[in-house]
Amino acid sequence: MATNNTNQPLTPAVFHILLALSSGERHGYGIMKQVETDSHGKVTMGPGTLYGSLKRMLDAGLVRESDKRIDPEMDDERRIYYQITGIGTEALASELERYKRIVSLAQERQLYPKTYGIQP
């Protein structure tokens, strides 16, 4: 049952999982690796955190189970894949919009140290 309000701020774990799934379906291990890559190794999550968040996301309709298939880049074991849903995409877009507004505000208030080198 989809119960998530897409305007609600997301937890960091949920945000990173949605971000990882935004570029395509992934299995659990694939999500972990993508989160690590996306965050330049700053965010790592164990199976407990990943699947705890996935359970909540499945219940809220942000993601859904895709199918069970072999990952050609790994061994010949069949893995369950997860994919982002329409609600999940909307929630991610809302969160990114929130981030964008915060970045704009920070720029407006000149809160960026010059070393960040971020252009408006």
């Binding site: 291990y29 407990g48 699947y51």
Partner: protein, 272 residues
């Protein structure tokens, strides 16, 4: 360090079995596969294998505890318990109210202090009885009208049986140690000076009375679960026996106190 891979994977699988049933059914297989993938990666890179095993087992254990807590706090279990807390408190008070009236009316001429401790103990015993009994009676009334709930550690017959027996027997350890002269329960409850009120002893007494209440509530969970699903009251006979024994002990305590104080309630002077 050499690791037995099969044992580690089997151990992880056993840990996953501790997740709530619904979680395990939905994500257990995928979780096991992910652990296998992570483990194989660590084997390939030969990097921090011990640290990985330890941290993953710990992190998964925390996840299991959180999932159970989430079920308890969000689910009907806590709502039901909170509801029965209020009802039990009121019902117990209603039971002792006539005795309070008798005490006030019949003993006003003796110029004595109101026996708060007696009524607190009476109320606590009745509270314990209704806290254990009320949810079972409600479950019987609402049988099959509620949706089936997920099986958690608090409704699993085996874990609840073990937990309730362990809790019920726990105070016996202290009684045994006291009888062997290793500790002095009298000193624990009454303090160094029995004439003075001893706060620690009162807190300890409350904690001790809450242990059998907890045992009774835990033993009653699978019974309630089964009754709500339309099952029989006798589906878990061992649990029912524990609930019955605990209820019997509390009832005897109430009956004993009332019998002992009856002459006082009736207004007899020097009744103690």
């Amino acid at each position: 360090m050499a690791y037995n891979h099969k044992v580690i994977l089997l151990l992880y699988n056993k840990i996953l079995a501790l997740y709530p049933q619904a979680f395990r059914e939905q994500l257990g297989e995928s979780m096991e596969q992910t652990f296998k993938d992570l483990y194989n990666e660590k084997l390939r890179t030969k990097k921090e294998l011990f640290h990985f095993i330890l941290s993953t087992f710990l992190e998964t254990t925390i996840g299991i505890v959180s999932e159970h807590l989430l079920l308890i706090f969000k689910g009907a279990i806590m709502q039901g318990m909170l509801g029965s807390l209020g009802s039990s408190a009121s019902i117990s008070f209603l039971f002792i109210a006539p005795l309070i009236v008798l005490e006030i009316v019949n003993r006003r001429q003796f110029n004595e202090a109101f026996p708060f401790m007696l009524f607190t103990v009476l109320w606590l015993n009745l509270f314990a009885i209704s806290l254990i009994l009320l949810p079972i009676m409600q479950a019987r009334r609402t049988a099959s009208t509620t949706s089936p709930q997920t099986n958690t550690l608090l409704t699993k017959p085996s874990s609840t049986l073990f937990a309730s027996i362990a809790l019920f027997l726990f105070p016996l350890i202290f009684i045994l140690l006291d009888s062997m002269g290793w500790i002095s329960l009298n000193r624990f409850f009454n303090g160094p000076n029995p004439e003075q009120p001893y706060l620690f002893g009162q807190i300890l007494s409350l904690a001790l009375i809450s242990i059998p209440i907890g045992a009774g509530i835990i033993a009653g969970r699978p019974i309630i679960h089964t009754l709500r699903a339309g099952g029989s009251l006798f589906a878990h006979p061992a649990h029912l026996v524990i609930v019955f024994v605990i209820l019997f002990l509390f009832t005897m305590s109430v009956a004993g106190l009332i019998a002992d104080q009856w002459s006082c309630f009736m207004g007899v002077q020097f009744c103690d």
